[in-house]
Every structure is written in structure tokens, then in C-alpha cells.
């Protein structure tokens, strides 16, 4: 397994009145080619900050140390203009709220083709054809019609698919998906997760998938890192982490899930029944 992204001892500090607070503490993680790696944890645990650090989109004044190696280059050492050549073309990002990621006043087609033409320097007709293929790949029905549609004409799930299409437009080596299904209904989420699995299989793109939902983690990630308070507390094969957790934090997270609560309740009622 060849690593495509290696984060080593990453520290991210944000400024405050007395100095700096560490929001990511010595995080080390790896993403290999063609695999889906999950970052799990609650809000504020540092998982989003870690991914923001990769693409250099941290809040103003943030300080970083450590290295983030992507295809042999330390991303932390690059200037913003150098990073902008990587963003969207070598590494793409998908956000939680698809409505925020899509320009409300431009058609989906314009958004995909503009993006491609900027990075790949291709003509309009070629870009349009590629856009149609991309929309087919993300399973949007009637792609040609979709190209002429505006984001508000799409449902939440379709908007996210469109955002994924834009992210894939320049054939990136890696996708960073930050809670992409959190705002979607569970049936729609299921479709998007299956889409990610398929895309990874078909194109070999690596995915760094951030989520707070352990069920989603189990469904999609090959390997997982559990974040707490800026540090990685557990990592490994997803099955190992979720079915045989060693760290008590991971165990507590699993226990607080609705499914665990439900099982707890059923167990208690059965016991009560036995005692009657």
C-alpha cells in the first residue's frame, strides 16, 4: 500500500488573547492510495482542523508545525498560490452543506465546466462533454438537463452529488469529505455513501472522510482515526476500532449511540420481564 498523504506530528494552534491554543496536537495519520480513511470524533475534536490544514484553509492567524506530505511535497511549506494549484485539482474537498458549496446564481453546468477549464485548460465543448460524464458518474438522472439547472432546483442529496461531481472534475488523487452526509436524510445518506464506495472502486481516488457518526464510519472507512481534543486516541482497521475498541473514549462514543441505547433498553426490559 503506497501512501499518498502522510501527516506527521501536526500541531495547529489558534490565536487568542493570551497566546495560542492547540486545536490539533501532534496528529499523525496516513492515507494510502485508493483507500477510504475515516476521521471520527465529536465537534471540536480537531478532525476538521486537520483537514483544513491539509489544504491551507485554516482560520487567519493559525500556526502550524509538523509536516503534511502529499505526493512527495510538504504542503505546509507551500505558498497560497502554490496550494491553489493543488486545491480542486489534485486534492478536492466536499463540505457538509452542499448549498454553501454551490454558487446559487450559476447553473450546475457552468460551475463544473468553469472549474475544469481553469485547471485543465480545455475548450468549452470538451468541458461540457466531460461534465455530462461526471454527472452520470454521480448518478444524476438526465445529466444534460441538470447542466442547465440551478442548485435551488435540486434536492439536498442531488446538490451533494453535484458538489461531488465538481470535486471530481479534475480527476484529483484525493478527496477530503467533511461530514458530507450529516445534513441529509438517512435514505439519501445511504445513496451518497454507496456512491463514495463506487467512486473509490472505479477511479481509485483516495478519500479522507470526516464524520461524527460511527455507523457511517463503519460503512465507508477502511481504516479509522478517532479524535479527541485535538489528539488521535485510537486508530487502525475500522473493524478493530469499532468492534474491539481499546481506548475508553472510543468505547464511550460507541455506548452513547442511539443503537446502543436501544439495545440497553431492550436488555433492561427483558431483565425486568425475567424478574416478573
Amino acid at each position: 500500500m503506497k501512501p499518498i498523504l502522510e501527516i506527521d506530528a501536526l500541531r495547529v494552534s489558534l490565536p487568542n488573547a493570551e497566546g495560542f491554543t492547540d486545536v490539533v496536537k501532534e496528529a499523525t495519520l496516513t492515507v494510502n492510495e485508493g483507500e477510504i480513511v475515516g476521521l471520527a470524533g465529536e465537534s471540536g475534536s480537531g478532525k476538521t482542523m486537520t483537514s483544513s490544514a491539509i489544504l491551507g484553509i485554516l482560520p487567519k492567524g493559525a500556526r502550524t508545525s509538523g509536516t503534511i506530505t502529499f505526493e512527495g511535497t510538504d504542503l505546509l511549506s507551500l505558498s497560497n498560490s502554490e496550494l491553489s494549484r493543488i486545491r480542486g485539482s489534485r486534492i478536492s474537498m466536499i463540505f457538509q452543506d452542499p448549498s454553501a458549496a454551490l454558487h446559487p446564481l450559476l447553473t450546475i453546468g457552468t460551475q463544473i465546466t468553469e472549474h475544469m477549464r481553469h485547471h485543465l485548460k480545455i475548450g468549452k465543448r470538451e468541458a461540457t462533454e466531460r461534465a455530462v460524464m461526471l454527472l452520470k458518474q454521480v448518478q444524476i438522472a438526465e445529466p444534460r438537463k441538470a447542466l442547465r439547472s440551478y442548485p435551488h432546483q435540486f434536492s439536498g442529496g442531488m446538490r451533494q452529488r453535484a458538489a461531488i461531481a465538481i470535486a471530481l472534475a479534475c480527476e484529483p488523487r484525493m478527496l477530503i469529505a467533511d461530514e458530507p452526509t450529516t445534513a441529509l436524510d438517512v435514505t439519501v445518506q445511504d445513496g451518497i455513501l454507496q456512491l463514495f464506495n463506487r467512486l473509490c472502486d472505479e477511479t481509485g481516488v483516495a478519500v479522507l472522510f470526516i464524520t461524527h457518526d460511527l455507523g457511517v464510519l463503519s460503512t465507508i472507512a477502511d481504516r479509522a482515526y478517532v479524535f479527541r481534543d485535538g489528539a488521535v486516541v485510537e486508530s487502525g482497521d475500522t473493524d478493530d476500532v469499532l468492534l474491539r475498541p481499546t481506548h475508553e473514549y472510543t468505547q464511550a462514543l460507541i455506548a452513547s449511540r442511539a443503537q446502543s441505547l436501544a439495545q440497553e433498553r431492550v436488555g433492561a426490559e427483558v431483565q425486568e420481564g425475567d424478574h416478573k
Partner: protein
């Protein structure tokens, strides 16, 4: 699903809140210790002090001729004398006795009238809102100063009528701003749950709606204080406000402008207006920052 807030349990919540509020605070710490805020508060305090103590502080009687006409600023008359030999400094100080209280009265009444209209329009909606807003549109269709002139001229030029006219032209601004605050507050869950817990309209307005929608209106009223002084000065410049020989800044500028080579007659009242209007504007900015949840991270969320 709403974006999840940071993980917090009791003690951590406190720590994280303190951290965030410190992170967000301005370089100079609290709003109230910033240089511009301090300066503006000082200026306002000085003018208020002068307005209150004017009769005792003025070096000369502001209404009577006390020296040679049209003398340039000198050691006896710091701001010179005007065309009737009155001491300009004394008149500038005396002017604050007129402008400041009148401006406060104008703003308070506009805020009252506009506030009630805006509150009812926003809270009751539909017909009440429709009528109120069309009335407001009617007034706002005219340029403020022209309408004020017309009203004052129609009622007869006097201080009282100038104030009335200015209240008439100003209330729609407050009505609009309060209405829009009320519209957004009205649908908030805390107002709805207040109703579920038995609050009637009055209790809901007093306890929840007004305190949470007053912010923008308060900010606007500090800035409008400056505007009121300007408009009052404009009206009296045109002879529609306080009658001579009252020492009103606008009237003084008007007289002085007829002969600008005696620059001191217009300049000093003009500077008085400038300093106090700027001070109020800066105060308004500071209050806005104080109330803005993003720049303080403390009181409001």
C-alpha cells in the same frame, strides 16, 4: 442537521467560552477602553457639561454686544466677535444649551413613536403592518430636510415646531429598523415557548421581544442624535428654527456665511457641530460593537 457545536461539559464549557471570548475580543480588550470610544465619550461629556453649566461658564453674555464688531480671535475674545459685537465663544457654548437637549428630545420622541409603530407592525403583521409601512413609505418618500422645512414653515417657524417637524420626518426610520428586528425575533423558539408557557402578547413583548430587538434601534439613535443636531442647524440656518437672537449654531453659521472673510463667525459653530456629531457617530459604532455577538463573544449569542 445543524452544525454541531463544540463538545462541552460543564467545566469545559466555561473554559472554552472564556477562550473563545478572549480569542474574539479586539486588540484593546473591552470596547469601552478603545481610544476612539474614550475620546468620543470625553467629547460628549465635555459638551454635556458645557450645556449644563453654560450660564456660569460663558465669559460674556451671549446675547448682548460686548465688544467691537467683527473682531478676529484675540486674547479677550478667543473666538472673536460677530457682526453685532457678541462674543462668539460665549455663543458657541450657549448654543450647546439649545442643540443638545433639543436633539435628545427629537431622538427620544422619534424613538417612541417609531418604536411603537415598528413593534406593532412587526409583531401583529398583516393589516397593521401594511398600514404602518405605507405611512412610513409616505414620509420617507420626501427628502428629510425638505419635508421638515415644509412642516415648520406651515406651522410657523419656532423651536417647538422645528422639533415637531423633525420628529415627524424621523420616526419612520426607527419604525423600519425596529420592525425588522421584531420580525426576526418573533419567530425565535424562545418567544414561541414563552407563549406556550402562557405569556400573552404584552408579557411576550416586554420580556422577550423588546429586549432582543432594541439593539439596532439603540445604535441608530446615537447616530441620529448627531443627525438631529445637523438638521436643527439646517432649519435654523434657513430661519425656520429658534428665533434670533438665540445662539443656535446653525443660525450662527448662516449669519457668518454672508461674509466669509470674517471666517471665525462660521468656523467655530461649524467645528462645534462637527465634533459632537462625530463623537455621537463613534459612540454608535462602539455600542454596535458592544452588542454584536461576533465581536464580543460574551453577552449576546
Amino acid at each position: 442537521m445543524i452544525s454541531l457545536p463544540p463538545v462541552l461539559d460543564a467545566a469545559k464549557a466555561k473554559r472554552l467560552n472564556l477562550k473563545t471570548s478572549r480569542m474574539l475580543r479586539t486588540q484593546f480588550g473591552s470596547v469601552w477602553t478603545r481610544p476612539w470610544t474614550v475620546i468620543s465619550l470625553a467629547v460628549i461629556t465635555i459638551w454635556t457639561f458645557l450645556a449644563i453649566t453654560a450660564p456660569w461658564v460663558v465669559p460674556f453674555d451671549p446675547l448682548k454686544p460686548v465688544g467691537e464688531n467683527l473682531q478676529a480671535p484675540s486674547s479677550t475674545h478667543w473666538f472673536g466677535t460677530d457682526e453685532l459685537g457678541r462674543d462668539v465663544l460665549s455663543r458657541v457654548i450657549a448654543g450647546s444649551q439649545l442643540s443638545l437637549p433639543l436633539a435628545v428630545i427629537i431622538v427620544v420622541f422619534s424613538l417612541l413613536v417609531g418604536g411603537i409603530v415598528g413593534l406593532l407592525a412587526g409583531y401583529l403583521g398583516r393589516t397593521v403592518d401594511g398600514i404602518a409601512m405605507r405611512l412610513a413609505d409616505l414620509v420617507l418618500a420626501f427628502p428629510q430636510i425638505i419635508l421638515a422645512m415644509a412642516v415648520t414653515a406651515a406651522f410657523g417657524p419656532s423651536t417647538g415646531n422645528a422639533v415637531l417637524a423633525l420628529v415627524i420626518v424621523s420616526w419612520p426610520l426607527y419604525a423600519r429598523i425596529i420592525r425588522s428586528s421584531v420580525l426576526s425575533v418573533r419567530e425565535q423558539e424562545y418567544v414561541v415557548s414563552g407563549h406556550l408557557l402562557g405569556s400573552g402578547m404584552f408579557k411576550s413583548l416586554v420580556k422577550d421581544v423588546i429586549p432582543n430587538s432594541a439593539g439596532p434601534a439603540l445604535v441608530m439613535s446615537t447616530i441620529e442624535l448627531g443627525n438631529a443636531i445637523l438638521m436643527l442647524a439646517a432649519l435654523s440656518y434657513l430661519g425656520l428654527g429658534p428665533r434670533p437672537p438665540a445662539a443656535e449654531w446653525g443660525a450662527m453659521i448662516a449669519l457668518g456665511s454672508q461674509n466669509l472673510s470674517n471666517w471665525w463667525i462660521s468656523l467655530f459653530p461649524g467645528l462645534a457641530i462637527l465634533t459632537i456629531v462625530m463623537a455621537f457617530n463613534m459612540l454608535g459604532d462602539s455600542i454596535q460593537d458592544y452588542l454584536d455577538p461576533r465581536s464580543r463573544g460574551g453577552k449576546l449569542r
